[in-house]
Symmetry: C2
Subunit: 205 residues, 2 copies
């Protein structure tokens, strides 16, 4: 058996990721530098360059870290009831996202650079793929249980992600405070009207 | 009566806007300079600086120009039938947008700068307000005619714009070729399931 990791010493990578989070919120993406991240880290730039050569290398690692965090969040959803699970997934994506407004701003800057930076594009695609996979699993489970209509689960998952991404963009670009809440309501309408079989059941009564 | 404008000489502003369009597609937003726009314009940078002090002043004017173009496009929709008019509006927004992929890329870069540049944010808000106003007018007309359910028209217009913005973002960030087509299908599902009264009518039969 391998030795357990020492859990008394702080994980330097975790610390750097937290410093990156704070620096991104403060300075945005364009004005972010390794120096500014080092200031948040409380160590020299060399201490960061030891792990990451460039700002973009560090930020690609940060995007991996965000995906890990989201995976952990989804792991917390214990219910297997398709409708309840769908509700909780949409809440994670739209109601209580980890991101604050200033983080959403920095993320949209990074997202807009995806066409120029392959490492970013890859991470955004991986993140999206994972989220769509989780949504699709719930939809297919609901179809099997007769709770959801026999819809095209791949399309429905993409439709929901379009709503999520639209809300994130509008929050930043239009400074629209209720964009996430409007999107949550829209996603709910979509689930009720397109996925749920309840209405059909009501009609039969 | 005022003299009619001379329509034989090319409008310098129209020429500069077209040059800006070509330069944005070629270089994106971050790498755009007045010099590069002047190259497309075929004149000196001074000829542009005569009209616009900075690149961002010029781009704010360009966003006004885009809104004017969209207003012209909407003016071409002559039908007053709410369902048909809604279809055509959604087509303008999602099926045959003027923008090519490289233009969508440049636009997302500019959109991501809205929190830092008030002039951009204002234009994006104006553009969104106009589009939502047009959608809302169609929805309210449809409600009056009994073709649409008595929904919250303001919310429904925002829901449709979330879908539009989500598709534009995903096209760029994820390099997703069919994001606009998926969004068009989603918007259609929303209109049919949430707005149209037809299903209710079918139920009554």
């Amino acid at each position: 058996m391998a030795d357990p990791p020492e859990h008394t010493a702080p994980d330097p990578n975790e610390e750097i990721m937290r410093a990156t989070y704070r620096a991104l919120r403060k300075h945005g993406y364009a004005d972010l530098t390794i120096k500014r991240i080092a200031e948040e880290y409380g160590k020299s730039t060399a201490a960061i360059h030891y792990h990451y050569e460039t700002k973009d290398d560090l930020l690609a690692a940060y995007l991996d870290y965000l995906l890990d965090q989201f995976v952990d969040t989804v792991r917390d959803i214990k219910t297997t009831d398709p409708e309840e699970r769908m509700e909780l997934l949409l809440d994670k994506l739209l109601v209580d996202p980890v991101d604050h407004q200033d983080m959403l701003i920095a993320m949209l800057e990074m997202r807009s650079q995806a066409p120029y930076k392959e490492a970013f594009c890859e991470r955004f695609q991986q993140n999206d793929e994972y989220t769509r996979y989780m949504l699709k699993a719930v939809i297919n489970h609901g179809i099997d249980e007769g709770i959801f209509e026999n819809v095209d689960a791949e399309h429905a998952a993409r439709a929901l992600m379009i709503i999520v991404d639209g809300a994130r963009t509008r929050t930043v670009v239009l400074d629209e405070e209720d964009a996430l809440a409007t999107a949550r309501r829209t996603a709910d309408e979509y689930v009720t009207a397109i996925l749920s079989t309840e209405e059909a059941a009501d009609g039969i009564e």
